[in-house]
Symmetry: C2
Subunit: 246 residues, 2 copies
């Protein structure tokens, strides 16, 4: 294995995943991962550019940043690349009016989007809102469309909260894909467009950037396919035995 | 297209799907499909053997048969091949203790099964019980196992109730498969073992039997792979445009 200095030669920017890297969510807002508050502070004092690149889709960026600041992180809303705002841009560009299957905590991100007479479905990490009734409604909306469009904010299999592993949006995306015989469009990691917009917002080229995350598919694989370097942390959802990543 | 007489030459037994062929479920127990009560009566007066081969997994066979008799069908519990009893046999044979993610209406079928300290998960068409909490619990049980076993009672994408199309167990099976990186074992149509047990119960060879159903994959494809003939009705979930059957 090459030495750290060599592996990180020429790096000008660092993209940090949030859940499982900075903190584990959960009861009472979750808990910071040991050493991460200091690590962010040191990165920000360095000459490196720093950006937070998350698939968090239960909370608006405002809520997420407020929570992280409360936990001690030096972070502001403008430093966060998250899937909900990216999805809103796509919806506007393509004239799509979504039926939203999302958590109430992220609904405010879609306040400016026309949701009347829906011609697509957007799903995010809806948590408890992934009821049978809500899933069935999303399914029925898709089945009524001539050209069903399903947009999924991320495709994660699961994430780690302080108490346990939790099912992520990817599982429900697969359920709707199968039921409707369609393929979802993923907004968020590992989509190349998403990484590219984060790089652009940071003003750094792919070969000058490193992504740090806990998801071997969403973070590491996705970043590498964009020409970035990537590091997988051994916190968050990291498990020593991988059960066949899809 | 060959004439009916020719296509059905040598047929000695008829396997009938129930949901979408005999009746559509729904509010107040559902409604018979026009002509089906009489068709069953005529079949039973003929020299053909008749068996009902269903993936119904929301209701016990007892409840299902009581409902169908109320709707006017000549049917008894001993004539029904259903996935829950087949799953119970498999669980016993393999010493599996399931965590059950099933509808309360079918739980009685598992009354004799040891569910302590689970070493597998069984999912059925749980309907409203497909809450996030229940799905997450099933996911967590699987992730704790060294050799996760997921048994799914059918793999249907959706079925038709009187009011609308409804998500079926297959969608949730896919969700758990993806989240855990595993492949489910399907008990029910289109599993060959399931059709074979129905044929055996009827005392008819595959080449002497015809399956009548509304599902192109579960009924028609499954039966044909077992060497049976099959007919797809244009009731139930049948749609003129198929959106890419998986």
């Amino acid at each position: 294995m090459a030495a750290w200095g060599e592996r990180l030669a020429g790096v000008r920017g660092v993209l940090l995943d949030i859940s499982g890297v900075l903190y584990d969510g959960g009861e009472g807002g979750g808990a910071p991962i040991a050493g991460s508050v200091e690590a962010v502070a040191r990165l920000k004092r360095s000459r490196l550019k720093v950006r937070f690149c998350t698939n968090e889709s239960q909370k608006s960026r405002g809520r997420l940043v407020a929570l992280l600041r409360q936990l001690g992180y030096d972070i502001s809303e403008g430093e966060v690349t998250a899937p909900a705002p990216a999805a809103c841009r796509i919806l506007r560009e393509r004239g799509l009016r979504p039926h939203l299957l999302v958590h109430d905590g992220v609904r405010s991100e879609f306040a400016q989007v026309d949701t009347s007479n829906p011609n697509c479905v957007v799903i995010a990490d809806a948590g408890e809102s992934f009821s049978y009734q809500n899933m069935n409604k999303a399914f029925q909306v898709l089945m009524e469309l001539d050209n069903p469009v399903l947009i999924s904010l991320g495709r994660g299999r699961y994430y780690k909260e302080t108490s346990a592993l939790m099912l992520d949006v990817g599982a429900y995306m697969k359920a709707l894909e199968y039921a409707c015989g369609i393929e979802a469009e993923v907004v968020g990691k590992p989509s190349p467009e998403f990484f590219e917009s984060a790089l652009q917002q940071m003003g750094v080229e792919a070969h000058q950037a490193v992504m740090i995350g806990d998801d071997i598919v969403g973070d590491v694989g996705g970043a590498q396919r964009c020409g970035m370097r990537a590091l997988q942390v051994r916190t968050g959802k990291f498990r020593f035995v991988h059960m066949g990543d899809p």
